[in-house]
């Protein structure tokens, strides 16, 4: 039995806040000591006296001194977090859960399919993979957003596509002429029409709003991806983050401790995974 209190919190200074879109901000945090995590794992981030919520770091897991967290204003706690300024103090505990199995991804074509704030964990995965980019056969990034203004991380695309094995595709659900959008329009699954990788042995990693995860998964299956090669990052209600509050239980599994990353094969028989 470990004597460590699983609720222990590290103080983290807010070094910078970036407005990514009208509803999404990124926060650059410096924990009081280096914070080790594996890509795909999550943290509980607290705003003292207000509350706490689970988030996935959006920066590489090789970066341990500081981390980015990208947060959508979705309710009570996140709304308060959006008021946080440079110089404020937050709390971090974790990391929790099972992340992406990079060893399995190595040597393969990896497709990242994401929408909305679901790009946060995918950015973490991407930045981590770019650190060892030659280990992967190819990386195809397919990102979607509601409108061009909602598309986050736009300014980083050039940093990603400078590697010849990395491709970036994006789409928005709808746009106006004034937006000057030259990507595709339509839901994110339309991008699958444009991919060139062979789905037979390729890995797909999906993260986004529940409806997008569901139809994204079905589209990938249609396209020929194997259920055991489709990785989903499940977002359920959570308090503790380590299997004791039971709120995130999906049948036999805890989203927090058995996940949040699952293959579709693992959870396809559990009830109501998309709700």
């Amino acid at each position: 039995m470990s004597d460590k209190n699983p609720y222990d919190v590290l103080k983290a200074d807010v070094l910078e806040v970036i407005e990514e879109s009208p509803t999404i901000k990124s926060f650059y945090l410096k924990p009081e000591k280096p914070f080790e995590f594996a890509t795909g794992q999550f943290i509980e981030l607290s705003l003292p006296g207000i509350g706490e919520a689970p988030f996935t770091p959006s920066s590489s897991h090789y970066e341990k001194e500081k981390m980015w967290v990208t947060i959508m204003n979705a309710g009570f706690v996140t709304n308060e977090i959006h008021k946080v300024k440079k110089g404020d103090v937050m709390g971090i505990r974790g990391p929790y859960g099972r992340g992406y199995p990079l060893d399995v991804f190595k040597g393969k074509d990896v497709l990242l399919l994401g929408g909305g704030v679901g790009l946060a964990p995918l950015r973490c995965l991407l930045q981590t993979m770019l650190h060892d980019v030659d280990d992967y056969k190819s990386i195809t990034v397919c990102f979607g957003a509601r409108t061009p203004a909602d598309m986050i991380y736009k300014d980083q695309i050039d940093d990603w596509t400078k590697y010849k094995t990395v491709a970036h595709l994006c789409t928005v659900d709808n746009c106006k002429e004034a937006d000057n959008w030259n990507g595709r329009t339509g839901v994110v699954t339309v991008l699958l029409d444009d991919i060139t990788i062979d789905p037979k042995d390729a890995i797909a990693v999906v993260c986004g709003p529940p409806i997008m995860m569901k139809f994204g998964t079905f589209a990938l299956l249609d396209k020929g991806f194997k259920a055991s090669n489709i990785y989903l990052s499940m977002e359920k209600k959570m308090y503790c983050g380590f299997g004791q509050c039971r709120h995130c239980v999906m049948g036999k599994y805890y989203a927090c401790k058995d996940g949040p990353v699952f293959t579709y094969e693992e959870i396809k028989n559990e009830e109501k995974i998309w709700d």
Partner: protein
Amino acid sequence: MVVSKSDLKKFFTSIQSEFDVFVPYETEREVDNLVIKKFDPEKEYVLEKYRTVDPVRTLYYFPSESVLPPSPKDKKRIIAGVKNCDLMGLAVLDDALLKDNFVEPNYSQWRKNSYIISCDCTDALSTCHCVLLDNNPYPIKTDDGDALFDINLSPVNNGYIIKVGSRKGEELLQKIKEVCSLKEVTVQDKETREAQRAEVRKKVMDINADFTPDRNYDVISENKEPSVWKEFCVECVQCGACTNICPTCYCLILNDESTKEEFKKVRSWDSCQLAGYAEVAGGGTPREYKWETFRNRYQCKHNFMKFNFDKLGCTGCGRCISCCPAEIDLREVIQSLQEV
């Protein structure tokens, strides 16, 4: 060893400076009337009969308490009169809260600091159904490792047979010996114990004569028919009493009460029966309807916990039946599912 009733009370009285002692007392209610309280040498307690109204869990896992920093637990405790259904409940909580790398700070401290003196049941309530769950109305120590009790008492004429179940039990026995004059267990004592255990077991069997002992719990998850479940829960008012009183429920919510100086997290009980339990930002929930919420408790106890801990999350204590304002009987629900 056999300890007399009066000697045991002497022991509880003398040990109070070292331990907080908790024992069941009778209330004015006619049945289901045992409440566990701090020992009072002036009053008569009841170690036998049946389970207390509240599960012993409430002494280990408070309705609301700080987990960061953990709440202090300096004094050791003796909790006496615990019944087997509550011990089985602690077994589930141990699996849930002490395993993996994540050890619940308050619960683990209480488990370390508390000594359990359990007792055989000598009576049963109409809701008791441990026997349907393959449990007995008395605890037994198996050969592998510590029992769930430190000491168990089996009532025999004007005293109790003492059975030591763990190292902590040995320690306690030494302390008992300092105050009490113990007698050897006679053949007759043993016969009394066995006869009484058999009698109570039969009583619980008879109480549950209408229910099949070999129950198939898979049907709970397999049966997704809304009309079946809706019928069971027509009168459920989603009060959450059934989970708050269960010896194996531990669902929690956290509140952040940090100040500028200190991080502080407070954990409180939650209930899967309350609306909004699994609702996420934006309003999505895996259990939209009342019948789904109602069914979740049955799945959790009999399917999910079985998978998670390799043991059922129901010990057969019957508390959720006794407390339900809608008079829903979990035995009847499970029985009906067998017959659908």
